[in-house]
C-alpha cells in the first residue's frame, strides 16, 4: 500500500484530499506545518508528498529544498497562488508537479497515480525502451518509431526527447530543460526550446496543435505525460 503524506494547513482541504486518496487505496498521513511535515517525511518514508505552498511556519520552497537534501520522494505541490513565478521557484527547488487550487479530484488522482508510478519506477531496473501510444523509443540505440514507421530525429531533438521521457509525469521548467539539453550557456534562448518541442510534436503527436504527450505548462515549462494504461514503463520493467 502506498503511503502519502499530506502537508496542508487547511483542515477541510485535507479532508477531501484524504477521502479521495483513501478511495484510491492509499494510506494517508497528515501534517499541518512545515516542521511537522519534515518530521513525518523522515519517520514514515512516504511514497509521495502533497504539499501546500503557503504554510504557517514557512514557505513550500524551503520545505522542498530541505527535503531534497536527503530524499528523492516525489512532491506534488498544491497552491492557491497562480503566479507562474512561484511555480517555477518550487519546481526548480526540486518539486515534481503542481496543481493550482481549485482542482478537481480527478485531476489530483491522475497526478498522484503518475507520480506514484514514477516513485516505483525509480526503485526498479530501468529499461532503455519506452512505449507510449503507437510510439516506441529505444534510448540506448537511439531509435524512434511511430506506428512501426521509423522517425528521424536530429541529435538535439533526441536529447530533448530523452530528458522528457526520463522525467515522465514531471513538470520540467524552461530553465531546467535548457540547462539539461543545451547546457548553461543557452539559458536565455527560450525560443530554441520552444521550436524543438514544436518539432517533436510535429514528428510524434497525432495533432500537434492539441498535443497529448508533450504538454505545455504555460509560463512554466513542459511535461511528458504518458497516457493512462498505455505506458511502457511498468510493463517492460516487470517483463
Amino acid at each position: 500500500m502506498n503511503t502519502v503524506l499530506l502537508v496542508e494547513d487547511e483542515k477541510e482541504i485535507r479532508r477531501f484530499v484524504r477521502l479521495a486518496l483513501q478511495g484510491e487505496g492509499c494510506q494517508v498521513s497528515e501534517a499541518e506545518t512545515m516542521t511537522q511535515g519534515l518530521q513525518e517525511a523522515a519517520n514514515l518514508k512516504p511514497q509521495l508528498i502533497i504539499l501546500d505552498l503557503g504554510l504557517p511556519d514557512g514557505n513550500g520552497v524551503d520545505f522542498v529544498q530541505r527535503l531534497r537534501s536527503w530524499s528523492q520522494v516525489p512532491v506534488l505541490v498544491v497552491s492557491a497562488r497562480s503566479t507562474e513565478y512561484d511555480k517555477i521557484l518550487v519546481l526548480d527547488a526540486g518539486a515534481d508537479d503542481y496543481l493550482t487550487k481549485p482542482f478537481s479530484v480527478g485531476e489530483l488522482l491522475a497526478r498522484v497515480r503518475a507520480l506514484l508510478r514514477r516513485s516505483r519506477a525509480d526503485n526498479e531496473l530501468n529499461t532503455p525502451v519506452v512505449k507510449f501510444g503507437t510510439i516506441e523509443v529505444d534510448l540506448a540505440r537511439r531509435l524512434v518509431s511511430k506506428a512501426q514507421q521509423s522517425v528521424h530525429l536530429t541529435a538535439m531533438e533526441f536529447k530533448l526527447l530523452s530528458v522528457l521521457l526520463t522525467n515522465a509525469g514531471r513538470v520540467l521548467t524552461h530553465r531546467h530543460l535548457l540547462r539539461e539539453v543545451w547546457g548553461g550557456a543557452h539559458s536565455e534562448h527560450n525560443h530554441y526550446l520552444r521550436i524543438y518541442v514544436a518539432h517533436l510534436r510535429q514528428k510524434l503527436e497525432d495533432d500537434p496543435t492539441q498535443p497529448v504527450y508533450f504538454q505545455t505548462e504555460i509560463g512554466v515549462g513542459y511535461r511528458f505525460q504518458p497516457q493512462m494504461g498505455q505506458v511502457g514503463f511498468s510493463q517492460d520493467m516487470s517483463a
Partner: protein
C-alpha cells in the same frame, strides 16, 4: 542748480589743488631746480586723477602747465617765455600730465568696477543660497523678486507653465502684460532665446527659464538701465531652482506610487488566496461526493455535480475579477518571449476542454507561421475567455473555428461561432467591462474586456463583427516584429 555744482565742483577742486601747489612751492623758487617743481605739479595731477577722476585731471593738467609758466618760468607773472627751451618743458609736462591722468583714472575705473562686480557676485551668491533652500515655487519667485528690486532696482514679472503648458502668472497673483509682450512671451517660451524690448518704457528683457528637460517658464525684467548679464544669470539660477523642485516632486510621487502599488498587489494576493481556499474546499468536496465509490442516488449525485459546477463558475468569476484588477492597476508586467502561437492555443484548448465538449472545434493555422513575441500566460487568458464566450453563445453541437492568418505586419487570430451574433449596435461596447452580448445569458461580461486589455498591451487590436454567413467573430492582431534567428547548424 545742484546738478551744475556737482558737475563742476570736481574741476574747481582740481584747480584749487593746483593753486595750492603753486602757493606752497613759491618759497622753493631759486633754491630748487625748476625741473623738480614740475615733478611736484605732476604729483598734484596724479592725486587729482586718483581722487576726482579723468576730467578734473585733464583740467588740472592744463591749469598746472599754465600756472608753472606764469609763476615760475622767467619772466615771472607773465605768460611770455624768454628761453625757447621751456616750450619743450611745457609740452613734456602737459603730455606727461595727460597720460598720467588717463592711466590713473583707468586704474581707478577698473578698481571701481571690480568692487561693483564683487558686490553683485556676492548678491548673486546670496540669492543662489536662498533659492537652494526654497521649498516652493512661490518662495523662488519672491526671493528673486526681492533680489532684483533691492540689488539692481529691476522689476520682475514671472510666468510659469501650467500642466497643459499654458503660461500663467504665479497662483494668486496677476501679471500685467501689454500686447507685444504677451506675444513675445510665448515665442520665447517655445524657442528659448532672450529678447530685449528696447522700445518699451522702461525697457524690458524677456528671458526664458531653461530647465534640464524642458522650459520652466519665462521672466520679464524691466528697468531704465538693464543689467543684461546679471539678469541672465538670475534666470539660470531660477531655472535650476525650479528644476530641483520639479525633480523632488517627481521623486516623491514615484515613491508614493511604489508604496501604493505594493499595497495593492499584496491586497490582491491576499484576496486571491482567501477566496480560492474556500472555493477549493467547496469544489473538492462536491467532487468527492460524486465519486463512484460513494454510490450516491442519482438526484444527490446531480446536486453534487451542480455544486461543483457553480463553484467552478465562481472561481472563473474571481479569476476574471482579479485579472481585471491587476490589468487595470497596471500591476501586470508583460513577460514577452518569442514562441509559436500553436503552443498557447494547444494549452488553452486543453484548459477549456470542459466548456468545448458540446461543440466541434476546428483549428486552422496558416503554414509557416513565424514565432511571435507575447506573454504566454496572458494570451492563454485571452484564448480561454474567447473560447468560453464562443461556446456559451453558440447552439449545442455547432462548430467553432479558430483561425490564424498572417499578413505582412501582423498575425490575425479570429474565433468564430455559429451563434446569433453580437447585437449589431453593440459591436464596440462588448469590450467594455460588465457589458454582455445577450442579456438573457448569464455571466458578467468581463472576459472580452480582459482580452482587449491584454491585446492592446501587446500592441494589437481586437474587434468584434458578425459575418454575413452568420454567427459571431472576434478577431485580434499581434504585431509580427523580427523573430530571433535560430542557428541553422543546430537545426540541421
Amino acid at each position: 542748480m545742484r546738478n551744475l555744482t556737482s558737475t563742476f565742483s570736481p574741476h574747481l577742486w582740481g584747480v584749487l589743488a593746483c593753486l595750492l601747489t603753486t602757493l606752497l612751492t613759491q618759497p622753493l623758487l631759486g633754491r630748487v631746480d625748476l625741473a623738480n617743481i614740475v615733478m611736484l605739479f605732476l604729483l598734484t595731477v596724479v592725486i587729482i586723477a586718483v581722487k576726482l577722476g579723468r576730467k578734473p585731471a585733464i583740467t588740472a593738467s592744463f591749469v598746472s602747465t599754465a600756472l608753472f609758466d606764469f609763476f615760475f618760468v622767467p619772466p615771472r607773472f607773465s605768460f611770455n617765455v624768454n628761453d625757447v627751451e621751456y616750450f619743450i618743458t611745457f609740452a613734456a609736462m602737459l603730455v606727461v600730465a595727460l597720460i598720467i591722468s588717463h592711466l590713473t583714472t583707468g586704474l581707478r575705473q577698473s578698481a571701481l568696477e571690480a568692487g561693483q562686480r564683487e558686490q553683485q557676485t556676492r548678491a548673486l551668491y546670496t540669492l543662489a543660497q536662498s533659492l537652494a533652500g526654497a521649498v516652493t515655487v512661490e518662495q523662488v519667485v519672491l526671493e528673486t523678486q526681492h533680489f532684483l528690486r533691492e540689488t539692481l532696482q529691476h522689476e520682475l514679472r514671472v510666468l510659469l507653465p501650467s500642466s497643459q503648458d499654458v503660461l500663467l502668472p504665479l497662483a494668486g497673483t496677476t501679471t500685467h502684460l501689454n500686447a507685444a509682450e504677451s506675444l513675445m512671451v510665448h515665442s520665447v517660451f517655445a524657442q528659448p532665446q532672450t529678447v530685449e524690448m528696447g522700445s518699451d518704457n522702461p525697457p524690458t528683457l524677456i528671458v526664458p527659464l531653461v530647465g534640464v528637460t524642458r522650459p520652466r517658464g519665462v521672466i520679464l525684467v524691466s528697468a531704465p538701465v538693464l543689467q543684461r548679464p546679471l539678469v541672465v544669470a538670475v534666470a539660470s539660477l531660477m531655472a535650476t531652482a525650479l528644476d530641483r523642485l520639479h525633480f523632488v516632486d517627481v521623486a516623491q510621487q514615484q515613491k508614493m506610487q511604489i508604496v501604493t502599488e505594493r499595497l495593492r498587489s499584496s491586497i490582491l494576493a491576499a484576496l486571491s488566496h482567501d477566496i480560492r481556499t474556500p472555493l477549493t474546499v467547496l469544489y473538492g468536496l462536491a467532487d468527492t461526493l460524486a465519486l463512484p465509490q460513494h454510490d450516491l442516488p442519482e438526484p444527490l449525485r446531480e446536486t453534487a455535480s451542480a455544486l461543483r459546477e457553480q463553484a467552478m463558475r465562481l472561481n472563473n468569476l474571481v479569476n476574471n475579477l482579479l485579472d481585471m484588477a491587476r490589468l487595470h492597476s497596471g500591476l501586470v508586467q508583460l513577460r514577452k518571449e518569442w514562441q509559436p502561437i500553436e503552443e498557447v492555443i494547444g494549452a488553452s484548448l486543453k484548459l477549456s476542454g470542459a466548456v468545448l465538449q458540446a461543440h466541434s472545434l476546428k483549428v486552422q493555422l496558416a503554414d509557416n507561421l513565424p514565432l511571435l513575441e507575447f506573454d504566454a500566460v496572458l494570451l492563454e487568458r485571452v484564448f480561454c475567455n474567447l473560447l468560453e464566450n464562443a461556446a456559451k453563445y453558440a447552439p449545442p453541437n455547432s462548430g467553432i473555428v479558430l483561425r490564424v492568418e498572417q499578413d505582412w505586419r501582423v498575425a490575425r487570430i479570429s474565433l468564430c461561432n455559429a451563434g446569433t451574433g453580437f447585437p449589431p449596435d453593440k459591436l464596440q461596447q462588448v469590450f467594455e467591462p460588465f457589458e454582455r452580448g445577450c442579456s438573457e445569458q448569464d455571466g458578467v461580461g468581463m472576459g472580452l474586456a480582459i482580452c482587449r486589455a491584454v491585446v492592446e498591451a501587446h500592441g494589437g487590436e481586437i474587434t468584434a463583427h458578425n459575418p454575413e454567413t452568420g454567427g459571431a467573430c472576434v478577431t485580434f492582431t499581434l504585431p509580427l516584429g523580427t523573430p530571433p534567428v535560430i542557428d541553422p547548424e543546430e537545426v540541421a
